[in-house]
């Protein structure tokens, strides 16, 4: 089957019409690295885009950002190991749209605006009964998971307690961080 037909068919199976980014991405599809479920992989360019987005979601501040916490590689590994074809497709669709728009060449401000737009579109998409997990949701949940369970993320974001030894009610102090266990 022609790749584009295959994508259309999957999109139909997913129960949705093509989203705007999909239509935009159509022409890019032939150049997107071929993948199947067991062999999900990103190109170097796509990896850079994933890393930039992760860092925009959780940037370096007084504490480490997503890149320093190893989030970009974590996202790719998780997509490969824990997700199936519908998510692989929606992820590739989202990344291809950004690739086409030369995301990496945008200024940080424009990148942020662009991602806000993607977030808004995703909300609409999910409300319309989209089956599976859209690109932005995958990016966001995997960035948060990868960061807030990484060693640097846990230790710099929370008060990390390995063995609490007790359970008691307390009062929050001003600016108190959450406990992590």
């Amino acid at each position: 089957m022609h790749r584009r037909d295959a994508i259309k068919k999957v999109a139909l199976l997913l129960g949705g019409a093509f989203s705007a980014p999909t239509l935009l991405a159509m022409n890019r599809w032939e150049q997107v690295a071929l993948f199947d479920e067991s062999n999900f992989t990103l190109t170097d360019l796509q990896r850079k885009i994933v890393a930039e987005i992760a860092e925009l979601i959780l940037p370096k501040t007084s504490t480490a950002g997503a890149k320093e916490a190893g989030v970009p590689a974590f996202i790719e590994m998780m997509l490969k190991d824990c997700y199936a074809k519908p998510e692989h497709l929606s992820f590739m669709e989202g990344i291809a749209a950004l690739e086409q728009d030369k995301f990496l060449e945008m200024t940080a401000t424009v990148q942020t605006e662009r991602l806000k737009k993607v977030e808004a579109e995703t909300k609409t998409l999910m409300k319309s009964g989209f089956k599976g997990v859209p690109f932005w949701r995958l990016m966001k949940e995997l960035t948060l998971l990868g960061y807030f369970t990484s060693e640097v993320g846990v230790k710099s974001s929370f008060e990390y307690v390995q063995i609490p030894s007790k359970f008691e009610l307390t009062k929050l102090k001003p600016n108190q961080k959450a406990y992590a266990y």
Partner: protein, 571 residues
Amino acid sequence: MNLNIDAKKKNSYDAIVVGSGMTGGMAAKELTERGLKVLMVERGREVKHVTDYETAMKEPWDLQHRGKVSTYAAEERWANKRFWGLVNEETDKFFTNDTENPYVEKRPFDWIRAYHTGGKSMHWGRQSYRWNKQDFEANLKDGNGVDWPIRYEDLEKWYTHVEKFVGISGQAEGLDVLPDGHFLPAMPMTMPELHFKKMLKEKLNRPVTIGRVANLTQPQKVHTELGRGTCQFRNKCPRGCPFGGYYSSISGSIPAAMRTKRLTILHDSIVSELIYDEKKGKATGIKVIDQKTMQMEEYFAKIIFLNAGSMNTAALMLHSKSNRFPTGFGNDSDQVGRNIMDHHLGVGAGARIEGFEEDYMFGQRPNALYIPRFRNWGSDKQSYLRGFGYQGGASRDDWNRGVQADGFGATFKEDLTKPGSWSIRIGGFGEVLPNPNNRMSLDADKKDKWGVPLIVFDAAFGENELTMRKDMMQSAVEMLDTAGFKDITSFDYPTHLGLGIHDMGTARMGRDAKTSVLNAFNQVHACKNVFVTDGAAMTSSSCVNPSITYMALTARAADFAVAELKKQNLK
């Protein structure tokens, strides 16, 4: 000839216990402590307390997939994964590989198994509630199933006996619907939970109590002398607890039995059949397949306890055919494998709680709230029979709230390091009626790799359960609303029998050998030296978590068995 006699002698014990889980462990403890030499046979691998809890002390970042289930693990454990992501890297070694151990579903059945030392006691929910008096009378009253041959009073002292040994943290409430037990200090409720309790009492006159849970809040001598210590409030119990903070067969009953020096445990040993001696009219032993070498070996004993887990116990009985029992051991009544019950769950509601911004807690409580049954109780009358309880609780949201929240960037990141707002979630556990058409049998052709026939499930929830579920959802919404909570969302996940992991009823107790499999002391009616004391023995299901009742029945039956042996009644 002498060789055979020697071999028989070498493989002879006073008692054989099939299974090392919740009830197998308790049977071994009670029998060895009464002086019997016991052989425990576990079909799965050996798991040693502490040293084999490989993930127990791992940091969050040590787990490659951070709690998510990989697609290959999901494929291997296709049935286990149905239980909401429990088969992740933290715990998947303690769930059975379903691909190697398949079963057949005529109608969908969620069979969750744990083939290793300790069985499902490794990762049980630890909620421990006594049955109430009416639970034992329900079948007689409404005509479903058969009457229990025992009443609450028969089990009362055995509840106390096992509660003391297991160690149950809980609050005495003086309720008829949820009889108090022997408790260690209760765990605290959070401030919004205390508010919820107060509102429900005031407005609906419904009690809310803290869960009664098998975690040691104040270990007693009986616990510390086995090396068990205080719960550390990590809430990582299903990984195995290196502190012995929660009860399992591995941390409790098996070490207690080993201490007597009268327990031998065989691992990797699948019991394929009971050996029935037609002349003596009793079961004399078991046939065992070594799951690694495929070698067959026979073992002999005066009494046999079947504690393989309800479905496997029934399968073993059905597979043990003889001239006397052509349709399966002890199956004169044709009730072996029938009347599968469970608790139906996955239905309830959640809400956001406003206020309590300054309230927080230190530590992770491995426990929840419990709302005892209020339906068809006292003056309440519903269109369906029996009832349900709820488990759940309130806590502050963590960083996961960011996934659904709008925004990203520096402020977003900073916000997620703070505790979020409070939310609450409660889910029902409903009683399932006994129905002879909910059954399992053995496949006529398909066998597993050890040549044992596969189990075929043909069972589903009935009208009573489905009607009850609607109320379970609506009542949850009503209670959260009564407490003034906001943005209430209800849920009702599609589930099947089995998912409660409280599968029971396949060799029920009863007063009449024509309609039941076991008598009032869990003896097989037609073969008194075989006892079934796992969930298979249950005549009805109540709506409370069953393990403590299984253990009480086991201790009672073991005490009886030893007395009968002494009286020479089981010769």
